[in-house]
Symmetry: C2
Subunit: 183 residues, 2 copies
């Protein structure tokens, strides 16, 4: 029995999750903090999550935030190597080099019910493994022209059921999909 | 004075415009023909267009359709080489190996006011040249996992103004943007 795995991520309209060097300046602009009008604001989503699985690059970005954004939740970093953890994160973050299905099964056995899968490569691996149940994509009204793409030609194919699309006054557009088994 | 250049294109939710071999089977399904509920259906868009600029691959796909879809409109194919034209297309399609700005200027001088820019590479070149004024993207509810992407790391950066998002009952989601000058 796998836990429910969700993706909740923002991209530019041309599909990038960060600039090439990892910068999120285009996303963290004050004008885009306002999520009023979106069907599933981040705060409401994260309140339903009890564990987070992310790639090493996503972790290294979050690790350096002034405040650790996942306090109180289990965080698994997809990595075969040990992590360099600052003291504030000791005991809160574990590395796991296993396959997506094995990680999901371990988290389920530990009692976790709703996993938030984050980071481009991690999302594509979990999609390819058929583990993602729900996909919430928020498009930020900008073309970056270059960057790290969310999707690439190494993902899994799936039919999607459109659940809801909503737009905020600042131009954020959020679409939610249920991921169905491959046709 | 450049003519108004618009993009109107469908992609999978993971951003592909066709499968790797060019196949559009996922898009041409009967269930996705119904565009009721979309803010700008294709028929209404194409009625405002007087010339079409497309890449060679897009042309080669359209050339083999049972019916030529651009009857009565000037079609320019971005190509430095001559095109192999079937008899029905003689005099209706021209190849142009010029830069996007030169092509747009030639079409403007010939009296064309609204250009439809089509095909992944062609769209990215016109975006990078700052020539696109409006972008209409329709997302088809499917993850292909692989294919030919609309956007890649060779596009132009631009701020976008969100104009309208709409969803059809079949799960098509269309967003329209005005392309603003780069920030």
């Amino acid at each position: 029995m796998h836990p429910h795995c969700s993706v909740f991520i923002a991209t530019s309209v041309d599909g990038f999750i960060s600039r090439r060097d990892g910068a999120l300046d285009w996303l963290t602009k004050p004008e885009f903090l306002d999520q009023r009008g979106l069907g599933l604001p981040y705060e409401r989503f994260i309140a339903t999550v009890d564990a987070i699985v992310m790639g090493r690059k996503t972790f290294e970005t979050a690790r350096d935030f002034p405040e650790w954004p996942y306090e109180g939740r289990t965080v698994v970093v997809l990595s075969a190597r040990e992590l360099a953890l600052p003291p504030r994160l000791h005991g809160k973050v574990v590395a796991d080099g296993g396959a997506p299905a094995a990680i999901a099964a371990r988290l389920a056995a530990a009692g976790h019910r709703h996993l938030y899968i984050d980071g481009g490569q991690t999302i594509r691996r979990f999609l390819a493994a058929g583990l993602i149940r729900e996909l919430t994509l928020t498009r930020v009204p900008v073309l970056l022209g270059d960057g790290i793409p969310l999707f690439a030609a190494d993902g899994g194919g799936s039919r999607l059921e459109h659940l809801q699309t909503s737009a905020a006054a600042n131009g954020l557009v959020q679409s939610r999909y249920r991921v169905l088994p491959a046709a």
